[in-house]
Amino acid sequence: MAVITRGFGGRRRDDTDLPPGQYRTDDFPVLSAGPTPRIGLDKWELAVVTEIGERSTWSWTEFTALPADETTVDIHCVTHWSKFGTRWRGVSVDTLLADVETSAEYVVAHCYGGYTTNIPLEDLIDGQAWVAYEFDGEPLAPVHGGPARLLVPHLYFWKSAKWLRALELRLDDEPGFWETAGYHNYGDPWREQRYRAD
């Protein structure tokens, strides 16, 4: 017999529009595999690197001068919480790749602090992903990935890498930090692809 703790509800709420195994939260939990990196905006740089090593880079001023989108999306964390209606501002990955010549099929996101995650290129284009630098009308807080983070809302949130530094375009797939430690390589919340064998 399992032990049920009387009167314990936890933080989650039930909801219908949720992917399987998720609970809704109104908080914005902070998850992190390491300390929060401190990156001065004068030192900050975002790079796109192609499979033959061609680099395009943006300083903070250049990056924030690019056309940006406002987007409101639901996010789903693999630790079972989902948050509805989060409001972001950021640059579409399509904009960053507009002048990039590539036959890559995969992308590795590299971050300040050393975190990595891998995503198929086709999941980052056609208006599906952003490099976000505002949340809820405010500059993105460092604990939530500021100055700028990747935002790929249709995949589990570990793919939305915080403290983004570079997008590396690759011909082959290179599993990232959690993908090499038992998590699913793709991570679709609607198919509940949490772990490698799911």
Binding site: D27, V30, A33, G34, G114, A141, V143, H144, G182
Partner: protein, 97 residues
């Protein structure tokens, strides 16, 4: 709306001591007194003295000297995975030694 209660300057890690439960359940022994040699800076410390980030998809232990990852522990539906690529050596005290 409440976004976060964690101030950016309020460090959030705990000590490797906190791994005693999750690891003990798997291994049947207290691994937090084992010593790990960081593959990056080569200093050796007990696991209990590493920095553990426990609010994440898995438990991540980092070397307090250089901040590199020395151990990761992930619990999937059917398996538990301990990744030690960040450690060169893991040494255990022997009982009754």
């Amino acid at each position: 709306m409440s976004t976060t209660n964690v101030g950016a300057d309020d460090p959030s890690w705990v000590d490797g001591n906190a791994l005693a439960g999750p690891l003990g359940e798997l291994m049947g022994t207290d691994l937090t007194v084992a010593e790990l040699t960081c593959a990056n800076c080569r200093t050796t410390r007990p696991l209990a003295a590493m920095r553990v980030f426990d609010r994440a998809p898995g438990l991540v232990a980092r070397c307090p000297g250089c901040e590199d990852v020395v151990m990761r522990l992930v619990r999937t539906t059917e398996r538990a995975l301990i990744d030690l690529r960040g450690s060169l050596v893991v040494s255990f005290p022997l009982p009754n030694a």
